[in-house]
């Protein structure tokens, strides 16, 4: 299994509070991604990174920011959590070579009350 760890695995937070989710990899892969999974929507890309300090927006980036200060860590921040951000969040990594299959973390279940 690819070395990818998400933390925390579960979190309940209140509306309006900031929340940071962490993705840590030990594979030295260049590309990292944050997705959210919601019923009826599948997996939607929030932000992705193609290198240290190189990030770009995905299809549902509003309300989220990311940072990647080193290869192994990709942080997702909800500046002011809202109930619509209740979801399961998945981090993924990819080397970018060949068929570019991505390896996913176990997910973080976030509930905003």
């Amino acid at each position: 299994d690819a070395g990818i760890t998400q933390s925390p695995r579960h979190k309940v937070t209140e509306t309006g509070t900031p929340v940071t989710l962490r993705c840590h990899q030990t594979e030295n892969h260049r590309y990292m991604y944050w997705y959210r999974q919601d019923p009826g929507h599948g997996l939607r890309l929030i932000h992705y990174s193609y290198g240290v300090k190189d990030t770009d927006k995905g299809e549902v980036s509003d309300g989220y920011s990311v940072s990647r200060s080193k290869t192994e860590d990709f942080l997702l921040t909800l500046e002011s959590a809202t109930s619509s951000q209740t979801s399961v969040y998945f981090c993924a990594i990819s080397s970018g070579t060949g068929s570019t299959e991505a390896f996913f973390g176990q997910g973080t279940r976030l509930t905003v009350v």
Partner: protein, 113 residues
Amino acid sequence: DQQVKQNSPSLSVQEGRISILNCDYTNSMFDYFLWYKKYPAEGPTFLISISSIKDKNEDGRFTVFLNKSAKHLSLHIVPSQPGDSAVYFCAARSSGGYQKVTFGTGTKLQVIP
């Protein structure tokens, strides 16, 4: 704008028969297509991929077919097994340097023993 579509939310198949999962896309700039399998409470896992320059790729019981003119791909599982019961996501990678991967909404496959 859903660039990758899986129009069947669910599919039931008898054990031993063929499962066919379908996926349509709209972006002609996708250069790789991938299928992922997801069990509850786990991250998606890579199953099989196909380059846009090919029309078929096979790996054991799994075969992916690509019809570029129709912008359609399908995943065939033969024979289907109860352990194949999961949600299957179709995904597509945009050509270019940033390795952006877009997922469909998923199809839940149930293989009935």
